[in-house]
């Protein structure tokens, strides 16, 4: 059995007096591609912000690779890569300069080499010396993924990664996620709205509704559990409405 890579226990968060996450218990094992589903404002991004050490939870604990996100922040950040939604990076700098900076911040010993290898791996070496500010959404997303994996993290967090991408871009992203999971063994935690992508990419899903985790299981088990529903979208709608 795989060891848990992400463990949330009683995780809660509130902004001022508004509760955003309520008592979340969640375990994600190594090698999984986890799709985190939920309506707008359900708390998905807040959960990622806590797990990636950007904010501290109001209560409860979160561990990544066995390290606590509050007390062992440095160890957690060594294990993770993160691509936020609609990140723009430093637009007046080239892709290589952006990536080198983030590689250095991640403690990569040979940042230039790591950048070249990463761009090659993602088939976008031709973008290296172009300024990010001139990139299309799809190109920006590829460089965004490159910055997230330049230090070869164990866990990759993607927040709405398909947002703004055209169908071809979505397909490329899907292929990239599967390669990262298959070739490099990265566990992937993905916030998304796009249910069609979840069914094609994810091994496990979790559904967040108004800050509460109302469902978590593998894709196979989910389709077995809801035999009357034609698609994952129908299942999701049923979960949301019944909760």
């Amino acid at each position: 059995m795989n060891s848990p890579v992400i463990e949330l226990r009683g995780l809660s968060h509130r902004y001022d007096t508004d509760p955003v996450l309520r008592d979340i218990d969640l375990t994600i094992e190594a090698g999984e591609i986890f799709g985190f589903l939920g309506h707008n404002g359900a708390g998905k991004t807040t959960a990622i912000n806590i797990i990636t050490t950007l904010i501290e939870p109001t209560s409860g604990t979160a561990k990544v690779c066995g390290y606590d996100v509050v007390t062992e922040r440095r160890d957690v950040t060594r294990c993770i890569g993160y691509l936020p939604a609609e990140v723009r990076m430093y637009g007046h700098m080239t892709a290589a300069e952006n990536l080198e900076f983030f590689a250095k911040l991640s403690g990569v010993t040979e940042p230039r080499k790591a950048v070249a290898e990463t761009l090659d791996y993602l088939d976008c070496a031709e973008l290296a010396n172009k300024r990010v500010g001139s990139f299309s959404t799809g190109m920006r997303q590829r460089i965004g993924i490159a910055q997230a994996i330049v230090h070869r993290p164990k866990v990759l967090f993607l927040d709405e990664p398909t947002s703004g991408l055209d169908p071809l871009g979505v397909r490329q992203l899907r292929a990239t996620i599967l390669r990262l999971n298959g070739d490099l063994g990265m566990t992937v935690f993905m916030n998304t709205h796009l249910l069609s992508e979840v069914s094609k990419v994810c091994t496990t899903i979790g559904v967040l509704n108004h800050g509460e985790l109302i469902y978590k299981d593998s894709i196979e088990e989910t389709t077995r559990r809801f035999p009357d529903e034609a698609s994952l979208e129908d299942i999701y709608v049923r979960m949301e409405t019944s909760s």
């Binding site: 990636t52 950007l54 936020p84 609609e86 723009r88 990076m89 900076f101």
Partner: protein
Amino acid sequence: MIATIAAHQVLSLRRQRVFLALLATLLTMTALAGVLGWSSHHTIVRVYDEAVKLLASTGKPAPPNPFLLKPTLSLLSNMVVYIPLIGALLALILGHLSIVDDETNGTGRLVFSRQVTRTSYVLGKIASAAAVLAVVLTASLLVSVASLLVVNHTIAAGDFGRLGLFYALSWLYLMVFALIGMVTVLMTRRRSIALLSAMGAWLVITFVIPQFTSGLRPTQSLNPITDPASTSQTFFKITSTLRSYSVVEQYKQASGQILQTATAESVGQTIQRILPIAGLVIVLALVTVRLVQRHDFSRSANSE
């Protein structure tokens, strides 16, 4: 980590057109100060030469050249005005740009999901601002030296030292504005509000406070001239006391002492003028560190 962040910020600033435009303006104004000094020197010397010729033809003795009585560095006295005007604006933009991308582009989220502590981050940003200002003022110093060499064909070691001290003081003064540029980004949610707030602070420090503390004597807010005869009115007594805390006036007075363009005072008095500026830099640096420690960079994307 501090060096990585500082080096990245310096590279970033080199690509920012607004910053480069302001830098070019400051250097142009520095050269202009030299040109104005040279023009003034040239005109007076020509008038003096004509007067000497006229006096000689009538058999009268000529007075000494008036420029020989003036300190050499008085040629650059306009720099004491340009630094608080253009230099301070440049420093504000520098401080603003240092943090605003991480605040509004969402790159702060990328930075803080790495092995970067908030202390390293803010120290890197302050170090980069300090280094960039040092380079900018060194360039300005070189332009000033070139101007002096054009006019006088030589520069005494003492004058060079005084010029160096003047630019060191200017660096300290401009750090106030670089830090204000950072603080306003960290205290506001929108890019435009942050910039407007910083400009507001610049206006207050450069124009409003001196207007008040100099007893509404407008020429004093622009020129480092000596205080007119003191007045016994309570209002002017209060404003004169508060003047010690007006950093722009203290900067101009201390600069006047360094460049020997103001009435001489003791070194201790000049140091006392510099202390409020240094104090403000320390306070603003501590405030910046504190604000970065508490700032929520996770909510920072797409603010405008």
